[in-house]
């Protein structure tokens, strides 16, 4: 489907899973709510077919480092949708995603959290 000749389905805004092409989960990248996002410098421009939501996400992340949850809140999108958009933008080399809590935190991290809280 080329830009400017988009079919009617594409134009219809937009239940969350329409934005994600019907997918309910991200492809590969491990993305938690607290995974950090950063726009890749010097990435190619997004294709014309990219959704406004993907563009807004990339623009937001271009300003600095944010978590998936923060990006979702600022864009007024569900976290589940943002995770999928992020997965796509990571796959195309536009976004970098790192960190995030998935498994039991290490003792080292627990101590660092405790020390950090005590020092506040």
């Amino acid at each position: 489907m080329t830009d400017g000749t988009a079919g009617e389905y594409r134009d219809t805004p937009l239940r969350p899973y329409v934005l994600t092409g019907g997918r309910a989960g991200p492809a590969d990248t491990a993305l938690g709510v607290d995974t950090l996002l950063k726009a890749m410098p010097h990435a190619t421009p997004l294709p014309l077919s990219a959704t406004p939501q993907s563009r807004a996400l990339l623009r937001l992340c271009g300003g600095g480092v944010l978590s998936v949850a923060e990006a979702a809140a600022h864009l007024v999108l569900p976290v589940s949708v943002v995770r999928i958009l992020v997965g796509d933008l990571v796959a195309t080399g536009h976004l970098q995603a790192h960190a995030g809590s998935f498994s039991e935190p290490s003792m080292e991290l627990l101590k660092e959290v405790l020390d950090g809280l005590r020092d506040l």
């Binding site: 805004p13 938690g32 421009p45 014309l48 480092v65 935190p105 660092e112 959290v113 809280l117």
Partner: protein
Amino acid sequence: MAYATSDDPSGEAPAPRRPSARDAPPARAERSASTARDGRRVPYLSESVTRTAKILVVGDFGVGKTTFIGSASEITPLRTEEPMTQASVGVDDLEGLDTKTTTTVAMDFGRITLNPRLALYLFGTPGQRRFWSMWAGLAEGAVGVLVLVDSRRLAGSFEVLDQIETHVPAPFAVAVNHFPDTPRHTADRLREALDLLPEVPIVDCDALDRTSAINALVTVADHAIALRTAKGIPT
């Protein structure tokens, strides 16, 4: 760049519009903007932060989760809304809810940069069974869970505690949020009323007060370390 706000899926009935070539902004412009949809400046993390940790703040409705997060957080608490999945509808009795409406659950959260490399996120969610599918994933990898309790309405916390004890492997502590007319219970009486094991820490807390909120978070981290130490150390 008007397109950025043109179709908000949470809006009532946004006008359909067709993507066109005009919508493609220059690549440079995509990196320059740093304002949120509501026009506020986005509080980005320091570039030096490379790791994150999270603590869940759960509790009955109206127990002060958002207030608590607002007190502890370095940013104005943010909110995101998630549609409830079919799975969660399936395990719960959504009596009285119109089945045609999409139910969304709000999650409020905040952030504390603990040191130049590490940010702690605080995620607040309702703890009832029907939201379980939402926060079970959230609890994965968490430092721990803080259960906020209103001692004037202890019964409201029973279900929350049941869910955590049954489903959440992360360590949890209980914080009793004090409202002006909160009766003072001794920790022992609360422990008995809430049927908590002796090892579960109970702290008093004033969700409006930053020091008090941070102290409750310290209790969670401390407890997580104590549990790990107790079970850990291979012989």
